[in-house]
């Protein structure tokens, strides 16, 4: 099929960017998340009662992995697309014989690879520290794929719309981070008073965190079908929006 080689080279370029900047793209988020596990889990964990039948240090690991992965997926595509636009080397891609879906997928691959590198590293490091296991591998795989696709696509969209680098960091710090924190990374919503418990159900990240938690621990605040359903319902339009931007050329072509 036409353009497949272009897609493979673009995916490779995005992966090269991740590996070339590995201290920023992989090491830093892994260290930050491990610090969370150590500080919150090991030092405070002994003072907090079990949540959903799990030690606190175990309970927070899936949410922290989810948080690190979605931020990495978002940061990767948003910064890569924004830099390509800012330095105008995206013209080299836009003029190449590649379909819009290949451009969209190529950038998404970079976000997915970076997120997976972080997720796998974190899980591998958390295993000896907390003894975490994967109880539902298929659910975990589905939740991870949907989650990183949502945030890779969101990154692509922000990278296309951003006028300055501040726009990219604004979404990361003011939108994604609070939503993930309030999505139950560090607590079960059972512990929240009304109306916060009810309001949490309007946070889409709550469903992603719970789907990933169910994959690791086999327990969740809501049904896994609902968690995966909401996550998928967000992934499809988000990816479609990024795809439409590449197809229409909006903000990419004057």
């Amino acid at each position: 099929m036409s353009g497949v080689r272009g897609l493979l080279w673009l995916s490779r370029r995005e992966c090269l960017r991740v590996t070339r900047l590995w201290t920023q793209t992989v090491l830093a988020p892994v260290v930050a998340s491990i610090l969370f596990i150590v500080v919150f889990g090991l030092s405070l964990g002994s003072r907090i009662r079990e949540i959903d039948g799990h030690d606190y240090q175990l309970f927070i690991v899936p949410g922290l992995i989810a948080m690190a992965m979605v931020q990495a997926a978002y940061n990767n595509t948003s910064s890569s697309v924004f830099q390509a636009r800012q330095d105008r080397y995206i013209n080299d891609l836009l003029s190449a014989p590649m379909h819009p879906w290949q451009l969209n997928l190529g950038y998404t691959v970079g976000g997915v690879v970076r997120a997976l590198a972080i997720g796998v590293s974190l899980a591998a490091l958390a295993l000896p520290v907390t003894g975490i296991r994967i109880e539902q591998p298929l659910v975990l795989a589905a939740a991870v794929v949907l989650g990183v696709v949502i945030f890779s696509a969101l990154g692509t969209i922000v990278g296309i719309f951003a006028d300055t680098f501040d726009n990219h960091t604004f979404v990361s710090n003011i939108v994604i981070l609070p939503l993930v924190f309030l999505g139950g990374v560090f607590y079960s919503i059972e512990s929240l008073p009304s109306p916060w418990q009810e309001l949490t159900h309007f946070n889409p990240l709550f469903y992603l965190v719970n789907a990933i938690r169910y994959g690791f621990l086999g327990t969740s605040d809501v049904s896994v079908a609902l968690s995966l359903g909401v996550t998928a319902a967000l992934a499809v339009p988000m990816y479609a929006w990024a795809q439409w931007l590449f197809m229409s050329g909006r903000r990419l072509k004057a």
Binding site: S2, W9, R12, R13, R17, D87, H99, A254
Partner: protein, 244 residues
């Protein structure tokens, strides 16, 4: 009966109005024959870069049609046939010189072996041997300009578009680039060149089109233009045509 070969470039009623209302091109018709060395001259804002962007799928045209060797410009086969060296330096800061060429070859469908072999060839031709492993932000202005041209030619395009390729380069490099572009044309590649240097257009181009305010105002050889405008030099032609 022999079919007449499709022109390298055919613009029919091409118009571009930007979102801010600026009309950059207005119903512009232009045909560049296959194998031509064609120059586009006009002041800043005349629409030269917009025209090039329309050919290379970099803008959304408002109206009209762009055909490259008979194929719509947005088709993959048309895009494969065009190589563009832009006016501004637009290199990927994460890549080395060699990677810039190899990845460009990749976007245009080359396999790994072919891309590496062709990149080595282009590095040799453009005298970038010492810089192959150097990342693009560390290159001098002249080296970046060479690399832009090498990248445009990497996938062996049949139509090469050079948007002010010698802007800001020293005299020696300009002569060197001229030599290479001429050789490329002799090998059968169609060249579309925009430049502000009138002597560059006169020296290199078989035909020259004058553009002002998004419209084609004249098109002929340098001699033909001088005759038409009763001018002694191309500079005089330019002054008369543009109303400078």
């Amino acid at each position: 009966m022999l079919m007449k070969p499709a022109p390298a470039l055919e613009l029919r009623g091409l118009s571009k109005r930007y979102d801010d209302g600026t009309v950059a091109l207005e119903s512009l018709d232009l045909t560049v024959p296959d194998g031509a060395f064609f120059g586009l001259l006009g002041p800043n804002g005349a629409g030269k870069t917009t025209l090039i962007s329309a050919v290379c799928n970099l803008i959304r045209v408002t109206a009209g049609e762009v055909l490259v060797f008979g194929e719509p410009a947005e088709s993959l086969s048309a895009r494969r046939a065009v190589g563009l060296s832009e006016q501004d330096i637009n290199l990927d800061r994460f890549l080395t010189v060699e990677e810039t060429l190899v990845y460009h070859g990749g976007w245009f469908g080359m396999g790994r072996k072919e891309a590496h072999a062709r990149a080595a060839e282009m590095i040799e031709i453009f005298d970038l041997n010492q810089k192959g492993k150097v990342r693009t932000p560390k290159l001098s202005g002249g080296m970046r300009r060479r690399l832009l041209l090498a990248r445009a030619l990497m996938h062996r395009p049949r139509l090469v578009i050079l948007d002010e390729p010698t802007a800001g380069v020293d005299f020696e490099l300009r002569l060197e680039l001229w030599r290479y572009i001429r050789r490329l044309h002799e090998q059968g590649t169609t060249i579309l060149l925009t430049t502000h240097y009138l002597e560059e257009a006169e020296t290199l181009c078989q035909e020259i089109a004058l553009i002002r305010a998004g419209r084609l105002i004249a098109r002929d050889s340098a001699d033909g233009l001088r005759e038409h405008y009763a001018a002694a030099s191309l500079e005089d032609v330019y002054v008369k045509a543009m109303g400078v």
